[in-house]
């Protein structure tokens, strides 16, 4: 009997309460299958809307200013729609009164979706830590990007918007000699710190102009050497695409090569056309001992080249149409655009047109103008 007096009996309900005590309700905003941000629902609840003072602000035209409210009652979450124009949905069913939001369900608000997760504090701390690692990796990539140059024979402007899970984009510009300039953009296939660090390793080779036995002014040779150095089996299964060009200011010739990458475009000062600069070469790291080819073009005075990653145009627009590169080209040669702050204009326009959840890759675009 003495033993039973000392033993604390715990019922199943108590055990559940005990676990609950350490768990928090989280709304996780999804983006391309990844979590873009995590919002803990506390006793005060959370309001979702398009503008402040909503607790969670979603820049989406289909979200009302004050869209819906998520409240904590007892141990459960409840959702009410705040007379939004387009409605609030739980697992596809429209919310018409105050309804429970089960753990694991999907809450749809405009074009965005949240998943309801019930996580321990330790889990949340761990997840936030990995988000922090991604931020650090993104700022490392950012530190390697070139300065913007507004004056002089070569002008450089760019925009870099890493995705929530950080892709492997990076780009640069440099000088190989008094009159020789080089510009490049790499896109590692993958997400996370691994892809970003791979991009950094490639960037460092190019920045230091330190490829073994390779004339850096010959794009085909640069790609060929990179292909031997960065075979995917030796680099955790990662490969990349690249566009690499070398401009000689004396002759106004641009020699270029793309490795598995879509074209860069040469756009004259009057923006009357966009000429693709593409050579059909394999992805870098996909297969050893491949042949690489380069191309060349004479650059008219005042013309620009547009280099960008596929995250710039691989979107679905709000009419549910899959974009390809020609949709972006239409925006580039749009005669009504002023041409000022061009990278930002293109980013803003793509953001306006895209269904937000489909902008799930890095957005990197660099414009180099040759006076």
């Amino acid at each position: 009997m003495a033993e039973s007096e000392q033993t604390q009996f715990v019922t199943r309900a108590d055990a559940v309460n005990h676990i609950k005590g350490d768990r928090l309700h989280c709304l996780e905003l999804l983006n391309g299958g990844e979590v873009e941000s995590r919002h803990i629902v506390g006793p005060l609840g959370l309001k979702v809307g398009r503008t402040a003072p909503a607790d969670v602000v979603l820049a989406d035209t289909e979200v009302s200013r004050s869209h819906c409210l998520i409240a904590l009652k007892g141990e459960d979450l409840y959702v009410s729609d705040l007379n939004s124009t387009n409605g609030t949905f739980i697992d596809g069913t429209r919310v018409s009164s105050v309804v429970p939001l089960p753990v694991g369900s999907i809450l749809q608000v405009g074009n965005r979706a949240f998943k309801h997760e019930w996580r321990t504090r330790a889990e949340i701390a761990h997840l936030n830590e990995s988000d922090h690692e991604l931020e650090k990796a993104a700022s490392y990539v950012r530190a390697l990007l070139p300065p913007k140059i507004a004056e002089g024979p070569i002008k450089v402007d760019w925009i870099y918007k890493p995705s929530a899970k950080l892709g492997g984009d990076a780009f640069g510009i440099g000088q190989l000699g008094e009159n020789l300039y080089v510009a490049y953009l790499v896109d590692v296939a993958g997400h996370g710190t691994g892809a970003a660090m791979h991009a950094v390793a490639i960037m460092n080779q190019l920045r230091q102009r330190s490829l073994p036995n390779t004339e850096m002014a010959r794009p085909e040779l640069v790609l060929s050497t990179l292909n031997e150095l960065f075979q995917m089996e030796d680099h955790a299964g990662l490969y990349f695409t690249i566009w690499y060009g070398v401009y000689d200011a004396r002759t106004r010739r641009l020699e270029f090569a793309s490795g598995g990458h879509h074209p860069a475009y040469l756009v004259p000062a009057d923006r009357s056309e966009a000429i693709p600069l593409h050579t059909r070469n394999p992805i870098i790291g996909a297969m050893p001992a491949m042949m690489f080819r380069q191309g060349g073009i004479t650059v008219p005075q005042g013309a620009s080249i547009y280099l960008f990653s596929d995250g710039v145009f691989e979107i679905i627009d709000t009419d549910e149409r899959q974009w390809d590169i020609t949709d972006l080209i239409e925006l580039i040669v749009d005669p009504s655009a002023s041409g000022k702050d061009e990278p930002q204009r293109l980013y803003d326009t793509v953001c306006q047109r895209a269904e937000p959840s489909t902008m799930d890759d890095d957005f990197s675009l660099m414009i180099v103008t040759f006076e």
């Binding site: 299958g33 997400h191 695409t241 598995g260 992805i283 491949m290 691989e314 890759d361």
Partner: protein, 112 residues
């Protein structure tokens, strides 16, 4: 996005459908490689119902092709629509993984 894997007497057939975008590849990649790699036999990939392929989708196919090639087996794709062919051409992927029009062509190519 769906994936159906069948065995056609010594040839693995993987039938993909829908959009091979980042989200779908994240969900599908493990299933795809688990269905294709352990068999280590010639593999054909049916892309007839694939409407779009992003860079991560290319990586999934390339990783499988390289892995099978190390084990002496070929991977061949067939039935890609013009938009998907265009993406393969842009990245010269067809230099590394053959892309043929029909299933019969694919079976002939992996068996050869």
């Amino acid at each position: 996005m769906t994936l159906v894997i069948t065995d056609l007497s010594g040839v693995t057939k993987a039938e993909l459908s829908g959009r091979l975008d980042t989200a779908n590849v994240n969900e599908l990649e493990l299933k795809f490689s688990a269905g294709v790699m352990p068999k280590s036999q010639p593999t054909i990939v049916d892309l007839t119902q694939v409407t779009f392929i992003a860079s991560l989708g290319i990586r999934m196919l390339l990783t499988a092709a390289r892995g099978l090639s190390r084990r002496g087996a070929k991977l061949v794709m067939f039935g890609a629509n013009p938009a998907v062919i265009e993406i393969f051409e842009m990245s010269a992927l067809s230099d590394i993984i053959p892309v043929v029009p029909t299933e019969a062509d694919a079976i002939a190519a992996v068996s050869g």
